[in-house]
Symmetry: C2
Subunit: 229 residues, 2 copies
Amino acid sequence: MAHTYEFPRPALTVDCVVFGLDDEDLKVLLIERDIPPYEGKWALPGGFVRVGEDLEAAARRELQEEAGVSKVYLEQLYSYGAPKRDPREHVVTVAYYALVKLSDHQVRASTDARSVAWFSVDDLPKLAFDHDKIQRAAHDRLRGKVRYQPIGFELLPDKFTLRQLQHLYETVLDRELDKRNFRKKILGMDLLVDLNEVETDVAHRAARLYRFDKKKYQRLEKKGFNFEI
Amino acid sequence: MAHTYEFPRPALTVDCVVFGLDDEDLKVLLIERDIPPYEGKWALPGGFVRVGEDLEAAARRELQEEAGVSKVYLEQLYSYGAPKRDPREHVVTVAYYALVKLSDHQVRASTDARSVAWFSVDDLPKLAFDHDKIQRAAHDRLRGKVRYQPIGFELLPDKFTLRQLQHLYETVLDRELDKRNFRKKILGMDLLVDLNEVETDVAHRAARLYRFDKKKYQRLEKKGFNFEI
DNA sequence: CCAAAAGTGTTTCACGTACACCCATGC
DNA sequence: GCATGGGTGTACGTGAAACACTTTTGG
């Protein structure tokens, strides 16, 4: 079935940069393309926006279909529309980035035949289209935003240690932080709930587990409180 | 001439929130629509993206065509794609915001028949489509960004007084600033060139004129300098 | 000479930063 | 008992914020 318009239109897609964090480093989820162009190359998950579909809904649908990822933090990044960014025709893409709790999202095969894998942001293959540029922009945005908004918690399990939290910031910001100053600052905000539990299966003194109090943060935010690391 | 595609596509537009500053307040440039939908209503300048045209180029073209505005600071804001945001069909828009030097851009009639006018951001008419929402987002972005990037100078003439500069920040941030602290901070950055000229035609002591040293800022920025008000 | 805005320093306080040692636990 | 990371306090310096008077100019 064909669709006809009075004037030609660019095609419209969404693409997602999905970040996850493990003990080593920050990772990005990529899919291997099984059709031209860039067949066999790694690319960001994404696809065409359907008529009548909201942009964010399209991004969530593609994440689910291509990578089995759902219920994640998702934020619009930027729109890219250089005429030649897709060799087939003029395709404008609205890019999003997502933060997932790797512990909840085991690296699982996609629902279709394509392979899906996590790559370290420091060791990415060459990506299809202008996806390198989009990935870098997402990484920059994450680095900038993580300091002023409590989005980092989206990368950790619900229960986490201060060590894990500090490691998160050190990884994303790519610099070392002072342990005492970090703890003083983060505990001083009074936004972490001490769960009175400790981690298990560690070969040393077990650390206390905390939970981020999102409700409290939202209340404070309305009153002018500014999160900052 | 008709254009046919295998799958239906949303239409794609760009819209621009153009800010200007005068002695009283922050202003937004609007155009009066002369065709349905929302005929006779005020709206943001904008229009359809052509195939083969870059998004920013489309925004600049529409600004020129609809409002006679050119060579302005322009930055992508956000993309809006709610299916019902345009009553005709699914139209996705990439929104931009622009900062213009009102002194250089006299409020002039548009090149076509529509009327164009500046409105105070505090006293806007009801806008067509979801343009209210877009305008608010642009205003929020401007408020947030002006403190960390030297974009405020785009709203002032090339030669300006410290009074004008402070007034700009007070207007955009919507709070009063201490004169001595402001001057100390801004002059301390050493990014303003003292032109050894003074303003004219004022009924009191004339203030010195300064120019923002953009080149110097760009050099410092690369070395890790952070602008901040 | 009066009105109006330009221009100028100091003190205080909060916060960021640097820094080192003892403690608890598993093996 | 030893290796490993958990957990804690203080001193210092920088920078933000509060604050008032004199100077210049035009009318």
